[in-house]
Amino acid sequence: MESLLNKSRPAVFCPGCSHDTILHALDKALLEMGHTGRDVVIVTDIGCSGLFDTFFNTHAFHGLHGRALTYATGIKMARPELKVIVTMGDGGLGIGGAHVLSACRRNLDLTLLVLNNFNYGMTGGQCSSTTPQEAVVGSGFLNRLEKPIDICQVAGAAGAALVSRISTYQKDLVARLKEALSFEGFSLLDIWGVCPGRYTRRNKLTSKTIDSKLEGLPELPDFKSRNFRTEYSKAYRQEAAKLDVPKSPLTIGPTCMPPQEDRQEIVVLGSAGQRVITAGELLCLAGAAAGCHATQKNDYPITVMKGHSVSEVILSDTKIEYTGIEDPSVIIALAPEGVSRRKAMLASLSPGSVVIRAVGVELPDCPATVIDVDFKAHKIKSQDQALAALAVLSRQNKVLTMEMLTAALNLRFDKKVFEAAMTVIKKMRDE
């Protein structure tokens, strides 16, 4: 088997750089596993670790600092058959921290090699997320104030099943790389090494001191048994296979006639939970069933089940251009929360307009015809009041007919909900 290293771009690192050792170990591991360049993609980001994709003769993807895992995720989801390897320094680890945590949680079959040399080599030896507090680096006193991250403990806590820490200079580096590469799921190897160009100029760090530091660390918990689960892309495809193929968008042909053909604006003013938005949609469907164009704009706060809910609907026999409300012909006023949002609109209604009001809701002075409805007396619950108001509207020979409303309910609901809706409507129509 031939080396996967790039003959046209021989590796160039500073003399003594740990990355060079890791590069050759990775090549050996891939070779021993029987890989060729065609079934491997090396994804890298910025910094010295970002040279790996160039030095290998494999598929290569080099992107922005800290984001290598994001590209790798897209590649692996698109091509699950590829062996996807991400190299990242302790710089990329810090800047892309959210992606590291999410990769651990996701368990997509990627291998992340953290080439951990405790500083930013390429930009002048500044502190990174793993720089010891006692180290002397290019960031002045700043690293003394921040604790370094133990990425293995963090990765395990975030759900990674294969997490392991190793020195560049350990004899079993190739074996440990192979273990990580062959794991079906997310694996992270934290590989400690020296940066002779920057870090060890001012700090004593050798293979021996790395060994003693590693020995001094507590043993990692058994993340493998704690976090083992089905690999993400496999689990994704299993879940997706259970889903029903979505139906094509509904098409609505005209089945009835509208009471008026010109532009009609209807505004439903209510509170959250009154199904105001559904009522607006029903008006649109009713309009479409009568061959009308329809638009619906809604206005509600970020809260659910609290606050105002407003739906603005326009029906017209011609194409609707401006979707704002200019001269509403009907306003349905169900709750003070909605009314308070459209006070000016209510005050400037045309004399020919109609307001259907739930009793007790105060309105500003307006010249419209007001129809009071006592929903409580009809035993209509709050969540059915908007629908009940449509039933009231269908008796006014304005905007909506009963035929249109029935057609809308048929389009929108299954049989069970349709019947429940018709029961509500019957209560209002039998008055």
């Binding site: 698109a78 959210a98 999410s102 979505p246």
Partner: protein, 370 residues
């Protein structure tokens, strides 16, 4: 005539699928979330992939990886998310990664108003990334446009290997509307041009008058090299000034030289009008109403609706404005695209109406402007 009823965001989702989109990744944000909801409904049951990234940077990153692995990808967000996309957008530009990016604009600056519409990102979409290379930005007026322009956006992304924006607005994206699916005018689907199997593959190589490199996906039989660094035809870093200059020039020319082929617009010519109203996006609807209302008056105006904002359709705008004394524009910002008109039409009297209060510009306001 049979209607379908959906909001703009749903139409963008259906349009994407019609264009062959099989990968979507996004992060929820009002008013773009319903695009993500739609893609989650449409893609996984049909063998596609829909992911929710841990943030916007991840979401677009997933898309870039998947696109280079051969999928047709889309992401959707609003202004705050476009800010986070910025570094990845410049990557897609410089490294010629096809992607459709939907910006459902909301009122800014910053987190602004999540549920109020605006067209405040119009210059930002073009210039909000490093490097200053052109992008393509399409702007829908209504739900039907959301569907059609999304299909065009995919085609353009594939043809030119670049990010293509659909610059929607909350007022189009979250407005439900009837439209007739049978009346959609959909172009034939375009796929990125594949490298043939005999020649040596250069990931960024072009020959003759070819402006866009041939594509092979990561994972194909021949090795593919993708990089965000300044590169030569072979995908390795280059420091050769001539090679760098040629690539930068090509990145610009492949977009700007072809703008006439994708200058989407509508026009309403009113005989004897001396004023041309130019509008885009949801404001074009009020503009149509205004022009219609004034067509028999002595203040009549013609209307040009631009659906391609970037690159600027310079020849089209100059040509359409030629016979008018005065050109006016209304837009839902404090004056962004009007700059382009002022630049192109120095000899015309220019009128402008900008509004940024979360409300639609009304037909009456435009009638006053005319």
């Amino acid at each position: 005539m049979a209607f379908s009823l959906m909001e703009g965001n749903e139409a963008i989702g259906w349009g994407a699928v019609a264009a062959g989109c099989n990968f979507f990744a996004g992060y929820p944000i009002t008013p773009a979330t319903t695009i993500y909801n739609t893609m989650l409904k449409l893609l996984p049951p049909n063998g596609g992939i829909c992911l929710q990234g841990e943030d916007e940077i991840a979401s677009i990153g997933f898309c870039l990886g998947a696109s280079m692995a051969g999928m047709k990808v889309m992401t959707a967000t609003s202004g705050p998310g476009i800010s986070l996309y910025s570094e990845q957008i410049s990557f897609a530009i410089g490294s010629e990664i096809p992607i459709v990016i939907v910006d459902v604009q909301r009122l800014g600056p910053s987190t602004g108003s999540a549920t109020k519409g605006a067209d405040g990102d119009v210059q930002f979409l073009q210039w909000g990334n490093s490097g200053g290379v052109p992008v393509i930005v399409l702007v829908p007026v209504d739900v039907k446009d959301c569907y059609e322009l999304t299909v065009h956006a995919f085609n353009l992304a594939e043809q030119f290997r670049c990010p293509v924006f659909v610059a929607a607005n909350k007022e189009v994206s979250m407005t439900r509307e009837t439209f007739c699916m049978d009346e959609l005018k959909l172009p034939p689907i375009v796929d990125r041009r594949k490298a043939n199997s005999t020649d040596a593959f250069l990931p960024f190589g072009v020959s003759g008058d070819q402006m866009v490199p041939n594509f092979l996906p990561i994972g194909s039989d021949r090795l593919v090299r993708q990089t965000s660094s300044t590169h030569g035809a072979n995908g390795y870093i280059t420091t050769d000034p001539d090679e760098i200059a040629a690539m930068q020039a090509r990145l610009e020319a492949k977009i700007t030289r072809n703008v006439a082929a994708f200058s989407y617009f509508e026009e309403y010519c009113v005989p004897d009008a001396e004023t041309l109203l130019i509008a885009y996006g949801v404001t074009a609807r009020a503009a149509r109403a205004a022009v219609e209302a004034l067509k028999d008056s002595n203040r009549k105006a013609s209307l040009l609706i631009l659906k391609t904002l970037w690159p600027v359709s310079e020849n089209l705008i100059r040509d359409k404005a030629r016979n008018y004394k005065r050109v006016v524009m209304a837009e839902m910002n404090l004056g962004q695209y009007i700059r382009e008109l002022e630049r192109l039409l120095p000899d015309k009297e220019i009128g402008f109406l900008g509004q940024m209060n979360g409300e639609l510009i009304k037909p009456k306001q435009i009638m006053e402007l005319i």
